[in-house]
Symmetry: C2
Subunit: 307 residues, 2 copies
């Protein structure tokens, strides 16, 4: 089934201990859509770019069966640009440049053809923009997933809470879960965040995997231990996009199937970090994705015996 994706489509310049890039394609909407496309979902993107956005980047998305009609092009403006440098441990980074450009005045317009989409994922954006998208839907989607970050908790917590109250699934990292809930224990944090509205809470722990919570159940998906993390940019968005795409494709939003969706998202994220930016996500095959999923199965598989 179709998946409506709202998120930034951007240019990034990235420096890691392994090298640096010029401006390359990035943005939450880009990573989410690419990841969801590999699930066999049909992503429809609502976003904005500037007149400098290259045709070949649009073509890349279209080649992944991503519907780009909802990407506004503001000819007289530039595309959102972010530049960052990762520290040696790859777990922290400094932002060097943030130029909002066309994203600064982003007024999301959901094309009529998208307004009945059953699955909606709101990438990390202002919670006001996220809510404007929900409000344009003529039918309340079957599932609304949102990602957010500490930045919005710092500067517009009330607006953020209003949007959180409208969604079914929220995805945050461990530090953000602690900040949002005021609880250190992730179990307590998930409970507190569920009280804000979402039925499902996903807490991403980077190299330590991800936790999925509903009212009574918890699932722990490990991250695949990797020899080398080349560039973590976009890994969280790729995870979320894989999760959303898997659910949209299957049409099954049970907790049991969400566990599989978390594994699928984790598998895609493990590819994402192997190269700069979206490079590794541009030409994956079904076979290599399934092989990667099987490594997750192996990683946690045990057959307990009482001796």
């Amino acid at each position: 089934m179709k998946l409506l994706v709202v998120g930034s489509v951007a240019y990034d310049a990235i420096e890691t201990p392994f090298g640096k890039t010029d401006k390359i394609l990035g943005g939450a909407g880009t990573y989410i859509s690419l990841a969801a496309s590999y699930a066999g979902a049909q992503p429809q993107v609502v976003s904005v770019v500037g007149g400098d956005f290259e045709k070949e980047n649009i073509t890349l998305l279209e080649n992944h069966n991503i519907d780009v009609k909802g990407i506004q092009i503001k000819k007289e403006e530039k595309t959102f640009f972010w530049s960052g440098k990762y520290h040696n441990d790859m777990n922290s980074r400094d932002t060097l440049v943030t130029e909002l450009n066309s994203l600064g005045t982003f007024n999301p317009i959901v094309p009529d053809a998208y307004k009945n989409t059953e699955y909606l994922i709101l990438g990390n954006l202002s919670p006001v923009v996220q809510r404007q998208v929900i409000e344009q839907m003529t039918t309340r989607p079957r599932l609304i997933i949102m990602d957010t970050m500490n930045f919005w908790m710092d500067i517009m917590l009330d607006e953020l809470k209003n949007t959180i109250a409208m969604v079914d699934v929220i995805s945050v990292n461990d530090e953000e879960a602690r900040q949002l809930s005021g609880e250190y224990s992730l179990i307590k944090a998930a409970k507190a965040i569920r009280k804000m509205g979402p039925n499902i809470v996903i807490i991403k722990k980077g190299e330590h995997g991800a936790l999925l919570f509903d009212e009574t159940q918890v699932f722990y998906a490990p991250a695949l231990p990797l020899e080398e993390v080349f560039d973590p940019t976009g890994a969280g968005d790729t995870f979320a996009g894989g999760f959303a795409g898997y659910l949209a494709k299957s049409g099954d939003i049970s907790f049991a199937n969400m566990k599989n969706a978390v594994i699928f998202g984790s598998a895609l994220a493990s590819f994402c970090v192997e190269k700069f930016g979206t490079e590794r996500l541009q030409n994956l095959t079904k076979e290599e994705i399934y092989d990667r999923v099987l490594r997750f199965v192996d990683l946690v598989n045990f057959d307990y015996k009482v001796h």
Copy 2:
């Protein structure tokens, strides 16, 4: 089967955000033996205490079917004492007092009756003491497991490496694995440590679980997400003791069974942190341990489908 345990038997005074204790029973040898006893192994402890060591603490160990003949009592000295205070996040702590006392001149004497024990676990102690134990064995044990810590890496790395070269399994935490190997990636760290001798490397990641490596395989055991960690003291030793005890009891040292042993150790560690010191490890039932193991099974269980 029997398990020879070498490790400190000590008194601890602990302060956490939840409260503080007077001197209570602690020490790696204590936690390891208690944990192993719940696996149905028959732990035999080699250690040393002072004249101040309470009879009731000996009785506690004996009541868990732990053979204490190898615990030397130095009447004129005092028992090793450690005091520490945990920070609010419970992931870091300050050591307030370390009095080596009787442990400072510990000359381990393995009773003749223990010298053919098939399973040996060396709790965190000076690598010289650990090696002295191995050298007293008349038959090379079927499996030697060692725990160590950054302290020994800082002050006697060469001695430590000599001991590491003699064991089959080494257990360290993630920071220690990085320090010992000089590698940030835990995959690379495990490879480098295996080259030092041990066939099996266990990397403990605290609230993020543990990784088990052999030459070609890796297993990720999550930690159970807990509402409250009351006191982390002894969790790593409890994990190692549960691991060693499970293997000794089953007599199966295949990688597949080591995965179960890691789960058993993780389950016991999840009890350990629920109360101060050894309190929660004093009266566990088989049923509650098995229930806890089943929570680990649930936590990671998924049945992947390709949609």
